[in-house]
C-alpha cells in the first residue's frame, strides 16, 4: 500500500451501503455482528489490513455516524475505556456518546500492549488521540472537496463538517465516510506494545479547547455487572466444550511417574491428559472435572524439596550470590563520603513474596476448529496471548484470535496467561473446545509472585546534620523470572511442564524520586530462583512491579534520617527534593491532612495510640504523596489505617471520576499488602492457598476516609494513575506507626502478631 497524500477511503471492490458489512451500535459492547462484518470486509477487500500504520485500525465511522474506536489496550476495571472514548470524541468533535470503544481483541485491534505499566492513557491514549485527530483532518479534507471550500474555512460540530461562516454548507461524517473504512497511512514507529506510536499529519487539538476531556463521565459497564447481563470469561461457553482441571505437583519440581487412571473410573467421561510433565484431567461436566482433579492418584518423583523454611527467606536473600546487578544514576563519590561521615544512619527492610490472589482463579476457553484457534481469556495482554498460543501450538499468529473477556481481576502478570496456555494444550490434545478454570489453591498457590526482597539503606551525615551521602541497594528475586506477558512458552507453566528450554531474566528497580544529595547511589541485585522450572514462587509483575517494596524501604528510611537529625518528615523531604512537582504533592497532601510541623514519634500512653506518616514517590511521569493516619491497639497489635490523604499529579486529568476510583483502589490494595499479605511456604511448596492462608484487607478494616487532592496540569500530557498511588502506601503507614509508637516496622506485612511483638 502506498502512502496516501489525498485522503480517501478503501473501496477497491465495493462501497458499503445502507446497513452494509460494517455496522456499529452506540453504547453496545463488541458484537458478533461487528466482528463478522470486519472479517467479511477483509475478505471482500473493503478494509485495509489490521496493521499499526493504518488509520482504519483505530477509528471507523458507521453509516449512522457512530464512531468505533479500536483499542489495543484494555480496561481492568478502572474506567480506562471511558477516558479513551473521551479522547477520541474530543479530537473528532463528536459527542462522547457517539463513540464506542472496542478493546483488547486481536480481531479488531493492533497490539498496543494490553494493560501494562499504567500506560493506558499515557501511551495508549496518546495513539488514540493522534489517530482520532488524523481521522478528523481527513474528514475535513473530504468535506472541503465535496463542498468546494478550502479546508481552513471549515470546522466540525458534533460530527458535522461545516463552513465556519455558513453552517448550512455542511457534510456529516456519516455522509462523508459512513460505512466505509479509512485508507490512510500513518507514520508508524515500527514498535508494538506500549511503545506503538503511529501519528498522522494532523495536529491534535489544543488542550484549552477541550470540552469532553476532563469531564467526570461515568462508566456504562457497571450496570451490566450489577444486573449480571454480560458474561465474565468464566461464563463463556462454546458448543461441544469440555471442562478441564490441571494437576500440579505436591512438591514443587516433582514430576509425574505413574498415573492411576483407574482412580477416575467412577467419574463419567473423566480422563487424563498429559504431555511431558504437563498433566490435566477433563470431563464433559465441570463438576466431574473437579471430582477427577480431587480423585486422580498420581505417583510423583522424589524431588528434593526446593525451598528453605519460611523463616530462612531473608537470610537466604542476604547470602545468595548476586546473579545480576545494576547501578542507576550514581552521583559523586559515595564511598569517600561515608568514610568522612560524622555519623551514619543505616537500616534494612524486608518484603515478602506476594500473590496476585485474584478474586477468582483464572479461566480460559480455547477452541481449535478447522486450523483456527480462538482463545477467550481474562489476560490483560490478549495480543501477546495470541502470539504465545501460536508458538505453543505451532501455528501462525494469524490463525489465533485472543479475545479478552472481563475476568476476576488482574493486577499484573497473574495466572490468566498460564491458564490460556494450559487450556490450549488441553484443547490440542483432546481435539475439543476446552474450558479450564484453576482451583482456588492453584490461583493463589501457583500464580506468578511479586518477588521477595531486602533493601539496605544508609545515609552519611556531617557534623551539621547535613546528609552528605545516600546509598540504597535492593537485593531480591527477579521481577521477571517469567516475563510480563504470555507471548513466549518459556514464560508459562505449560511451557515449563512440557519441557521447553528456559531462559534467565533479571530485573528489579531503584527508587523513583528527586532527592538531591552530593553523593548518591541507588542500585539493585537479583538472585537465582529456588527452583527454575515450574516454581510456584517464580517472580513476575504484581501491581506496580517492585514499587511498593522499594519505596516502603526508601521512604521509611527518609523518615529514619529525618528522625535522626530531629527534622519534621515533611520539612526534611522538601529540604532535599528537587522536582517542583514533588514539592507540590507533598505540600498539598500535608496541607489537606492538616499536618503540624513536629518531629516523630509522639509520646502517647493508653491502649490505643495514633500517628501520622508521610511518604511520596514518582512513577513514570506521575508523582504522588500520601499522608496516612493510623490507630494502633497496643494489646492486640492491630493497626487500623484510618485515614489517607493523597495528593496526585498525573499531568492532565482526563476523567476525574475514574481517577478517584483508581486511587481509592490503589490505597486499599496498598493497605492490604502492607498489613496482611505474605505468601507462606514450606520446603515443598507454597502453603498460602486460599483466603485463610493468604488474608487480605477486610471490609471491617477499611479506612474511614480517603481524601484526594487532584493536581491537574493541563500543560502536561497525561501520565498513568493505575499504579503510582499504591507505591508510597506502605511507607506512609510504617512512618505513621513510628509516629504513634516509636517503633520502626522494617518487615512487611505489619500483621498484629508482628506489631505486638515489635511493641513488647
Amino acid at each position: 500500500m502506498t502512502k496516501q497524500d489525498k485522503p480517501h477511503t478503501f473501496s477497491r471492490r465495493a462501497v458499503l451501503a445502507g446497513t452494509g458489512a460494517f455496522v456499529v451500535s452506540v453504547g453496545a459492547p463488541i458484537s458478533l455482528g461487528t466482528v463478522l462484518g470486519m472479517k467479511s470486509a477483509f475478505a471482500q477487500g473493503v478494509k485495509p489490513p489490521l496493521v499499526p500504520e493504518q488509520l482504519s485500525s483505530y477509528i471507523a465511522v458507521g453509516n449512522d455516524g457512530a464512531v468505533s474506536a479500536f483499542f489495543g489496550k484494555m480496561d481492568m476495571g478502572q474506567g480506562l475505556y471511558v477516558s479513551i472514548g473521551q479522547i477520541v470524541a474530543e479530537e473528532l468533535d463528536v459527542p462522547f456518546k457517539a463513540v464506542t470503544v472496542f478493546m483488547a481483541d486481536t480481531r479488531t485491534s493492533v497490539n498496543q500492549g494490553g494493560a501494562s505499566g499504567s500506560t493506558g492513557i499515557q501511551t495508549g491514549g496518546r495513539q488514540m488521540r493522534m489517530a482520532a485527530a488524523e481521522a478528523r483532518r481527513v474528514l475535513v479534507e473530504m468535506a472541503a472537496e465535496k463542498l468546494s471550500l478550502p479546508a481552513d474555512q471549515l470546522t466540525v460540530t458534533d460530527g458535522v463538517v461545516h463552513a465556519k461562516a455558513d453552517a448550512s454548507k455542511k457534510a456529516s461524517y456519516a455522509e462523508l465516510i459512513g460505512g466505509r473504512y479509512f485508507n490512510v497511512q500513518l507514520e508508524w514507529n515500527q514498535q508494538i506494545g506500549n511503545a506503538l506510536y503511529a501519528p498522522g499529519k494532523a495536529k491534535p487539538k489544543d488542550v484549552k479547547d477541550y470540552k469532553i476531556v476532563g469531564q467526570p463521565i461515568k462508566r456504562s459497564d457497571i450496570a451490566p455487572r450489577a444486573f449480571a447481563t454480560e458474561p465474565f470469561v468464566t461464563d463463556i461457553k462454546v458448543p461441544g466444550m469440555i471442562h478441564a482441571r490441571v494437576i500440579r505437583p505436591p512438591v514443587a519440581g516433582a514430576t509425574p511417574v505413574s498415573i492411576d487412571e483407574g482412580s477416575l473410573k467412577d467419574i463419567p467421561g473423566a480422563r487424563v491428559v498429559r504431555e511431558g510433565n504437563f498433566l490435566a484431567v477433563v470431563a464433559d461436566k465441570e463438576w466431574d472435572a473437579v471430582k477427577a482433579h480431587d480423585k486422580l492418584r498420581v505417583q510423583w518423583s522424589n524431588a528434593a524439596p526446593p525451598f528453605p523454611s519460611q523463616e530462612a527467606l531473608y537470610d537466604h536473600i542476604r547470602k545468595a550470590p548476586v546473579r545480576k546487578a545494576a547501578d542507576e544514576k550514581p552521583v559523586g563519590n559515595v564511598a569517600e563520603a561515608f568514610r568522612n561521615a560524622a555519623r551514619v544512619i543505616e537500616a534494612e527492610y524486608e518484603w515478602p513474596f506476594q500473590s496476585h490472589a485474584c478474586m477468582g482463579p483464572a479461566c480460559a476457553v480455547v477452541e481449535i476448529k478447522d486450523g483456527h484457534v480462538t482463545c477467550y481469556t481474562g489476560s490483560q495482554k490478549p495480543h501477546f496471548v495470541r502470539d504465545g498460543l501460536a508458538r505453543t501450538l505451532g501455528v501462525p499468529p494469524a490463525s489465533v484470535d485472543g479475545i479478552w473477556v472481563v475476568g476476576p481481576g488482574s493486577y499484573g502478570r497473574n495466572d490468566a496467561d498460564d491458564c490460556a496456555h494450559d487450556a490450549a494444550v488441553v484443547a490440542k490434545l483432546t481435539g475439543k473446545p476446552v474450558r479450564l478454570q484453576y482451583t482456588r489453591e492453584q490461583g493463589t498457590g501457583w500464580d506468578p509472585k511479586g518477588p521477595a526482597s531486602i533493601h539496605k539503606a544508609r545515609a552519611a551525615l556531617d557534623a551539621s546534620n547535613k546528609v552528605t551521602a545516600y546509598e540504597f541497594v535492593s537485593k531480591g528475586f527477579s521481577r521477571i523470572d517469567v516475563q510480563t506477558n504470555g507471548s513466549q512458552p518459556q514464560d508459562t507453566l505449560a511451557g515449563h511442564f512440557r519441557g521447553v528450554p528456559l531462559r534467565v531474566n533479571d530485573n528489579f528497580g531503584v527508587p523513583a524520586e528527586s532527592y538531591v544529595f552530593d553523593n548518591k547511589r541507588t542500585a539493585w541485585e537479583t538472585i537465582a530462583q529456588f527452583l527454575e522450572r515450574g516454581s510456584p514462587l517464580r517472580g513476575a509483575h504484581l501491581r506496580d512491579p517492585v514499587g511498593p517494596q522499594i519505596h516502603f524501604a526508601s521512604e521509611s528510611f527518609m523518615d529514619e534520617v529525618a528522625h535522626a537529625i530531629g527534622a519534621d518528615p515533611v520539612e526534611f523531604r522538601l529540604r532535599y527534593l528537587r522536582d517542583p512537582r514533588d514539592h507540590a504533592v507533598i505540600k498539598a497532601a500535608a496541607e489537606k491532612a492538616g499536618w503540624k510541623t513536629r518531629t516523630s514519634p509522639q509520646r502517647q500512653t493508653g491502649n490505643t495510640v495514633s500517628g501520622r506518616g508521610i511518604a511520596y514517590s514518582q512513577r513514570n511521569g506521575t508523582t504522588c504523596a500520601i499522608v496516612a493516619e493510623v490507630d494502633i491497639d497496643r494489646r492486640s497489635g492491630k493497626i487500623w489505617a484510618r485515614k489517607f490523604t493523597v495528593a496526585h499529579d498525573c499531568g492532565l486529568i482526563v476523567n476525574p471520576d475514574g481517577l478517584k476510583h483508581t486511587i481509592e483502589g490503589n490505597i486499599i490494595q496498598g493497605i492490604s499488602r502492607t498489613l496482611w499479605e505474605e505468601v507462606k511456604f514450606d520446603n515443598k511448596s507454597v502453603t498460602s492457598v486460599d483466603w485463610l492462608t493468604y488474608p487480605i484487607l477486610d471490609m471491617t478494616e477499611a479506612p474511614e476516609t480517603i481524601d484526594c487532592v487532584y493536581i491537574n496540569r493541563p500543560d502536561r500530557a497525561p501520565t498513568g494513575a493505575g499504579e503510582p498511588s499504591i507505591r508510597p502506601v506502605a511507607a506512609a503507614i510504617a512512618n505513621a506507626v513510628f509516629d504513634a509508637t516509636g517503633v520502626r516496622m522494617r518487615r512487611v506485612p505489619f500483621s498484629p502478631d508482628r506489631v505486638k511483638g515489635a511493641l513488647s
Binding site: 481492568m76 476495571g77 478502572q78 474506567g79 461515568k218 462508566r219 457497571i222 450496570a223 455487572r225 450489577a226 444486573f227 449480571a228 447481563t229 454480560e230 458474561p231 465474565f232 468464566t234 461464563d235 461457553k237 461436566k285 465441570e286 463438576w287 473437579v290 490472589a357 485474584c358 478474586m359 477468582g360 482463579p361 472481563v406 475476568g407 476476576p408 481481576g409 488482574s410 493486577y411 478454570q437 482451583t439 482456588r440 471520576d657 476510583h661 481509592e664 483502589g665 490503589n666 490505597i667 486499599i668 490494595q669 492490604s672 486460599d690 483466603w691 485463610l692 487480605i696 484487607l697 477486610d698 471490609m699 471491617t700 477499611a702 479506612p703 480517603i706
Partner: protein
Amino acid sequence: MTQKFTLDVNGKTHAVDADPDMPLLYALKNDIGLNNPQFGCGLAQCGACTVHMDGQPVRSCITPMSAVGNAKVVTLSGLGTPEKPHPLQTAYVEEQVTQCGYCINGWIMTAAAFLRDKKNPSEAEIKAALEGLKCRCGTHMNILRAVKRAATMMG
C-alpha cells in the same frame, strides 16, 4: 450417581440431573446457564457465589444440591433488572462501585438481606454485616457508599 432435582431459581423451575453432592453453583452456571453467581474459592471464604435461598444469603459453592430442596433460589440477576432494579443495584451504578466486578454477587446479595432486615444501619453495622466478603480490586469505599445510599433508599 446422579439424581433428578427441580430447582426454583429466580421464579422459574428447572429440572437438573446432578450428583447430590454437586454444589448448587455448578447447576446455576452450567445446567441453568446463568452468568451469575461466580466461582471464587469453593470454600465459602469470599462470597462471589452468594445467592439467596428463601431470602437468606448462602454460599452456593458449598451448598450441595441435596440441601436445596424446595427453597426459592434468587441470584443477582433475579434480585432486580434494569427495568425494576433493586436499590442496591441502582446504588452500585450511581456510585460506580465495581472495578473488575467479579465479587459483586457476594456484596449485593449479602447487603440485600441485611438491609431488608435492618433499617438505617450505622456504618459500623454495615461493615460488620459485610465482614469476610472479599474484593481484591479494593472498592471498599465505593461499596460502603453504595450500601449507605441503598439503605437511605430503602429507609
